[in-house]
Symmetry: C2
Subunit: 285 residues, 2 copies
C-alpha cells in the first residue's frame, strides 16, 4: 500500500472506531495542513471535513487567500473565524506594540533585522529553553498564545459536532520542539506525525497540492516576516538528512560539522519543550 | 520520607533542573489546587508562587471568595483575571442560554433536575464518548472551552516569567477521564497525578488546608449546581476503593456489584478521552 493510502486507511479506522462523525482541520495556508486536508478527504469524504481558518492581526495577507484556495481545491466546507478579538481579550497584544499604521513590508523588515541582531544561533535555542530577558519572554508568551487559542477554537467547533480534531504536526517539528506545547501539537489524530518535513513535501506532490502552496517558504505565521528556516537556522533538507541519520543510528561523517552541531544543540534544548505533565506516578512523562 | 516531603522535593528538583524561575497555579477554590499550592510553597517558597484566579459567568459565588482565602492562607501573590469576556469572544456563551436574571439557586435547581431527568447513569458515559444529540454536544463544547481558556491564561502568565505551570490533576480523574483534554490536564508539572482523590484529602489534612476547603463538596464548577459525585454517579470513597483493587489486580468480591459495574463502564468509556495524537509513528499514542 502506498503512503497516502496507508495514512487514509489509518485515519478512517480511527474515526470509525472512536465514532467521530467527521473531522475539523485548522487550515493555515501552509503545506502541512493542506496535505492533512487532502488525506482526510480521501479517508472519509469531503462532506465530512470542515476547514477552520483562524487569522489574526499579525497573519500574513496571503494566509487567508491561500487557505481559502486550499479549501476550494479540497472541496470542503470552511468557517473563517478571525481570532484577533479573542487574543485581545486574553491580553496577548498588550505584550507587543501595535503596528497599526506601519506597512507590512516595514514590519517584516524590522522583525528580520531584530532577529539577525540577536545572537543568530541562539534565538530558537533560547526559545526552547524559555530563556531570555523580559522582552524575549513576553515575545514567547505572545506568539504561543495564538496557537493555543486556535486549539480552543478547533475543539469548540469539533465537539459541537462530535468531529475529531485532525492535527498537522510532522516528525521534524516534533523532534526539534518546533511547535507550541498545548497548541498545534494538541489534536485527536495526527496523520503525518511520523513523516519528516521533506517527506511531507513529497507527499504533497503525489497528492497534487497546488504548486503555490508547495513552493512558498514555510512560516509559522505568528510574527511578521519570519520563516521556519530563519528560526531553525538550517534548511529542512539539511535538518532532515541529519535527523534521519541520528535516528537511524547512522554514521554522520560527510555531513557538515557545523550543521551537525546545530542539530544536536536543537535536540538537546528541545527536551524542555517535549516535557509535559512531569509527575511521580506512572501516568506522568 | 513522608509523602508531602517526597512530592515537594520532586517538584523542587524539576523546577531547578529545567530552570524555571517560579510556578503558576490555577487556584479554583477546590481541594486539589489548594493542596498543590501548599506543596509548591513548600518546594520553592511562597515568593516564587503565583496563584491565578480565573472566574467566569457561571462560577459559583463562593469560588472567588474561597480562592482568595486559599491564596491568603498560602501567603502567595495572586492575579484575579475574569475570563467571561474571553469566553464571550470565543463564542462559548452562545452555546447556552444566558441566565442573567435568574437567581443562582433556581439555576442550580434547574440544572440538577435536568440532569436527573436524563438517564442518570449515562450522562458521564455519553460525555466520555462525545455521544448525544445536538444540545448535549453543544453542552460539551461549552463547558470544555472554559478549562482550555484557563490553560491559555495560565501559560500566558507563566511564560512571561519563565515560570512552570503546575497542574492539579489527580490519579482518580486521570483514570476515569474526569478532566478536559487539553485543558486542566495540560501542565508542566503534575505533583498529585499519582494520588487518588481520597489520598488528596488525607494529604490536605496533613498540610493543614483550611477546613472549609476540605469539607465542601468537590465540583468542576463549570455548570451551576453540579458536583463531581453527581457526574460520576458514585462517591469518591467507593470509586477509589474499587479503582485501587482493579489497579492492584485484587479480588473485587465483597464490593457492590452495581458499583463495580459503574466503575468498569467509566473505565471503558474513558478510553476515548485518554486517546490523544493518534498517529502511525512512534511518537503517537
Amino acid at each position: 500500500m502506498c503512503l497516502k493510502d496507508e495514512i487514509a486507511s489509518f485515519m478512517k479506522s480511527m474515526i470509525v472506531t472512536h465514532r467521530y462523525r467527521g473531522a475539523v482541520i485548522g487550515i493555515s495556508g501552509g503545506i502541512d495542513s493542506a496535505v492533512v486536508g487532502a488525506l482526510t478527504v480521501q479517508a472519509i469524504g469531503k462532506e465530512k471535513v470542515l476547514g477552520l481558518l483562524l487569522p489574526e492581526r499579525d497573519s500574513a495577507p496571503e494566509t487567508l487567500k491561500d487557505s481559502l484556495m486550499i479549501c476550494d481545491y479540497l472541496g470542503i466546507d470552511r468557517i473563517v473565524k478571525p481570532i484577533t478579538g479573542i487574543l485581545r481579550s486574553v491580553g496577548v497584544y498588550r505584550l507587543q506594540p501595535p503596528a497599526l499604521f506601519i506597512p507590512r513590508k516595514i514590519q517584516e523588515k524590522y522583525v528580520r533585522n531584530k532577529l539577525k541582531a540577536m545572537t543568530k544561533d541562539d534565538i530558537f535555542l533560547q526559545d526552547l529553553r524559555n530563556n531570555g530577558d523580559q522582552t524575549f519572554l513576553k515575545g514567547l508568551a505572545y506568539y504561543r498564545a495564538k496557537h493555543r487559542v486556535r486549539m480552543v477554537c478547533l475543539y469548540l467547533e469539533a465537539e459541537k459536532r462530535n468531529f475529531a480534531v485532525v492535527g498537522a504536526s510532522n516528525h521534524t517539528e516534533a523532534l526539534t520542539g518546533f511547535y507550541v506545547k498545548w497548541g498545534d501539537d494538541s489534536a485527536d489524530i495526527e496523520p503525518i506525525l511520523h513523516l519528516y518535513k521533506t517527506q511531507v513535501y513529497q507527499l504533497a506532490q503525489e497528492l497534487g497540492i497546488p504548486e503555490k502552496i508547495r513552493t512558498k517558504a514555510p512560516s509559522p505565521d505568528l510574527i511578521p516576516g519570519i520563516t521556519d528556516e530563519d528560526v531553525l537556522g538550517i534548511s529542512y533538507t539539511e535538518l532532515d538528512s541529519i535527523l534521519m541519520k541520528i535516528e537511524g543510528g547512522q554514521d554522520l561523517s560527510g555531513m557538515e560539522p557545523e550543521k551537525i552541531q546545530r542539530v544536536k544543540q536543537i535536540l538537546e534544548a528541545a527536551e524542555k519543550r517535549n516535557l509535559r505533565n512531569l509527575s511521580l506516578g506512572k501516568l506522568g512523562n
